[in-house]
């Protein structure tokens, strides 16, 4: 196999109040893999995701993203390679209009204007919202906001798509169409933090179980997700 796109080594993180969120976490993700990150509330999933593009910086340990060690100097290119979709689209969509949000990443990458425009069009088409450019973000439905949030990251053409609880708060139909949408991005390397075991089973070939800030299991989705003892031990359930 080629070299990994995500390489996390012995990563530990303590919050300023002294609470340990991650302790000695190590894993690798290769190009094209679709990995589910599961674990109970407070396991450190979101904290881990925020490390992948350097929004949070580990207390100890090291990260290498797309062959670049995570350092202050590499933050720009690393953030261009890791597309992080936040759980709450209201946090992710901060511009008044859809277009501005989807163009925000490409503009920060200082791409030329016509390239930005074509990427916005492509990204919105990819999430099935072609023609939504001039809509006002806060008037969209929950499912539409989620799609725009994903488009706002796809427009950066990231090497790794990282999603935090993508199906939380969606109704069953919207959730299904989201799963379909994510499934349609076949080449895309993905890391999905989720409580939705069926989503994990449908989309991912590999599962990492995180509990108490430690990786307690890492293996093929078909095995781990159906290991009833393991799932129940960590507050999870089989799909």
């Amino acid at each position: 196999m080629s070299s990994p796109v995500i390489m996390v080594e012995e990563l530990s993180f303590r919050y300023p109040d002294g609470q340990t969120a991650l302790s000695k976490v190590s894993f690798q993700v290769y190009a094209g893999e679709k990995v589910a990150l599961i674990g109970p509330n407070g396991a450190g999933k979101s904290t881990l995701l925020l490390h992948l593009n350097g929004v949070l910086r580990g207390t100890t340990g090291s990260l290498t993203i797309a062959q670049m060690p995570l350092t202050e100097a590499n933050l720009g290119p690393i953030r261009a390679s890791v597309g992080l979709v936040f759980q709450n689209p209201d946090d992710q969509l901060f511009s008044p209009r859809v277009y501005q949000d989807v163009a925000f990443g490409p503009l920060n990458m200082r791409l030329p204007e016509n390239e930005v425009r074509s990427r916005v069009t492509q990204a919105l088409a990819a999430v099935g919202l072609g023609g939504f450019e001039n809509r006002i973000s806060h008037h969209l439905s929950g499912g539409e906001k989620k799609r725009v949030a994903i488009a706002s990251v796809l427009s950066m053409e990231p090497k790794i798509l990282v999603l935090d609880e993508p199906s939380a708060g969606l109704d069953p139909r919207t959730r299904r169409s989201l799963i379909q949408l994510l499934g349609s991005l076949q080449q895309q390397t993905m890391l999905i933090s989720t409580h939705d075991m069926r989503l994990a089973e449908t989309l991912c070939n590999r599962v990492i179980v995180l509990d108490g800030g430690k990786i307690v299991a890492d293996g093929p989705a078909s095995e781990l997700l159906h290991d009833q003892v393991l799932m129940e031990l960590h507050g999870l359930e089989t799909p």
């Binding site: 920060n108 806060h138 950066m156």
Partner: protein, 267 residues
């Protein structure tokens, strides 16, 4: 009922005024407001003329003269702050109310302030009725307003609605548990207790907003934000729009010149 119904001022439409370059509209409206405020005190013939200019703009933009005039009334309560001028400005006494004397100069001055506020408010409201808020922000940014200010305004606009919904949820949660027993009159405890509940809600709203701001900032960083808001280069001005925008300004300038000349003649 929705206790915090937020509504956009902007009304879509098709008119010469709606389609005008927002930068020109902003400069024109600021120019109009400045012109209105410079009207000399007591130059009463100038006011209907200025109103005629604003009224023509209201007709062109299909807002309606009377509707705009009514909306401009929003400024009038604020002019009450100037009401004391009636008594304090020295001049010929018109009326005595106990120990207070109303002077003619005071009435003239107060009327001038009220009329100018009403007209200036109409100019501002016409701008907000015909320009989407996002275009206004864009215009301010291309007119070199400091980008931090523009960003703060943009975020305020974006999150006002989210904040309103959050406050609404808190109010609903309180209302749902503001129960009372059948033989009780009304729900809740003393005024002091209710004030404390309301205070707690405000605090909770603040904390939620504060935490949200951190998450929003993280989302911005994740997409490569480095403190500078990027956009496209604004397109060049078109001569036609500049000319259209200049017409009302020239009209008001002409009225002002006449007012100054007239005023001098009177004195």
């Amino acid at each position: 009922m929705n206790p915090l119904s937020l509504k956009e001022r902007f009304e879509g439409g098709q008119s010469l005024f709606h389609d005008l370059d927002p930068r020109i509209k902003v400069v024109m409206s600021l120019g109009l407001i400045l012109g209105i405020l410079l009207t000399p005190e007591g130059a009463f013939p100038a006011y209907p003329l200025i109103w005629a200019v604003l009224g023509s703009m209201a007709v062109v933009s299909r807002v309606g003269v009377w509707r705009l005039a009514r909306l401009g009334g929003i400024a009038l309560p604020f002019t009450l702050a100037a009401l004391t001028l009636i008594f304090t400005t020295p001049g010929q006494p018109l009326l005595r109310l106990g120990g207070l004397v109303i002077s003619d100069a005071g009435v003239v001055r107060f009327m001038g302030i009220a009329l100018r506020s009403w007209l200036a408010a109409q100019a501002a409201i016409l701008l907000s009725l015909t320009t989407p808020f996002t275009d206004l922000l864009w215009a301010l940014r291309s007119l070199r307003l400091p980008s931090t200010l523009v960003m703060i305004t943009a975020f305020m606009y974006r999150y006002l609605f989210t904040l309103g919904e959050e406050a609404e949820r808190l109010i609903r949660a309180r209302a749902s548990r503001s129960a009372s027993l059948p033989d009780q009159k009304g729900a809740g405890g003393s005024l002091w207790w209710r004030a404390r509940v309301a205070g707690g809600m405000v605090g909770s709203l603040f904390l939620r907003s504060y935490e949200r701001s951190e998450r929003v900032y993280a989302a911005m960083l994740s997409r490569g934000f480095d403190g500078e808001l990027r956009g496209y280069n604004p397109p060049p001005f078109q001569w036609r729009s500049v000319l259209v925008g200049a017409i009302p300004l020239l009209a008001v300038a002409l009225i002002q010149i006449m007012a100054f000349l007239w005023f001098r003649g009177v004195r």
